[in-house]
Amino acid sequence: AQSVTQLDSHVSVSEGTPVLLRCNYSSSYSPSLFWYVQHPNKGLQLLLKYTSAATLVKGINGFEAEFKKSETSFHLTKPSAHMSDAAEYFCVVRAQAGGTSYGKLTFGQGTILTVHP
C-alpha cells in the first residue's frame, strides 16, 4: 500500500525567505509523486510531478522538489517566499495501476503555509 506523510501541519515564513515543506512517502514500487496547492475555497492546482525521470523537479511559481529514494522523501522548496504563496499544500502519491486501484491518488494531510510581510 502507498502512503504519504507531511511532516508539518503548519509552516510560517517571512516574505523573501526560503520555503521548505516536508513530505515522506511509502511505496512498494517506484512511485509517482506530486505536489498540489490549494488556495482558500478553491480547487487544487498541480505544482509539479515526479514520474521517474530527473530527481530534481521544477514546477510552477518557482517551486521545486527533489526525489530522494534513499530517504523516501519528496520535499518542496522555494528560494524566496511571496505573499501569494500562502495556501495549503498537498503531497500526493499515485496508487498502483491496475485492478480497482487504477489512477487513484493518495493525499497527505496538507501543510498550511503562512507568509508574513
Binding site: F34, G43, K49, F90, K104, F107
Partner: protein, 113 residues
C-alpha cells in the same frame, strides 16, 4: 486546452433534502473522473471514480451516489442529505492514458443545516 467546471459553487441544503452536484470536462475525450470530499481539518477523501460512461466505482460506503450519463459529465447525488455530508466537494479528471496527474475543478461548498 482542457477545462473542468463544477456547479453550483455553493449550496446550503436542509437535512433530508436531495442533492445533485454536476461536473463537466471540456477539451478531452474518455477521461477518468473522480469525486472527492474535503471536510474541515481533514484531507481529501476519494468518494467515487469512473473510467467510462456508466462505470462507477465507490470507495467509501455512504449516503451518496454517482453517475456518468455522458463521457464528460459526472454527477454526485443523494436522496436524503445528512449533516455529515457537509464539506467541500471536488471533481477531478485525468487522461485515460499513462499520465497520472489529476486536474481539479473549482469545487462546491455544501452546507447541510
Amino acid at each position: 486546452s482542457q477545462t473542468i467546471h463544477q456547479w453550483p459553487a455553493t449550496l446550503v441544503q436542509p437535512v433530508g433534502s436531495p442533492l445533485s452536484l454536476e461536473c463537466t470536462v471540456e477539451g478531452t475525450s474518455n477521461p477518468n473522473l473522480y469525486w472527492y470530499r474535503q471536510a474541515a481539518g481533514r484531507g481529501l477523501q476519494l468518494l467515487f471514480y469512473s473510467v467510462g460512461i456508466g462505470q462507477i466505482s465507490s470507495e467509501v460506503p455512504q449516503n451518496l451516489s454517482a453517475s456518468r450519463p455522458q463521457d464528460r459529465q459526472f454527477i454526485l447525488s443523494s436522496k436524503k442529505l445528512l449533516l455529515s455530508d457537509s464539506g467541500f466537494y471536488l471533481c477531478a479528471w485525468k487522461t485515460s492514458g499513462v499520465s497520472y496527474e489529476q486536474y481539479f475543478g473549482p469545487g462546491t461548498r455544501l452546507t447541510v443545516t
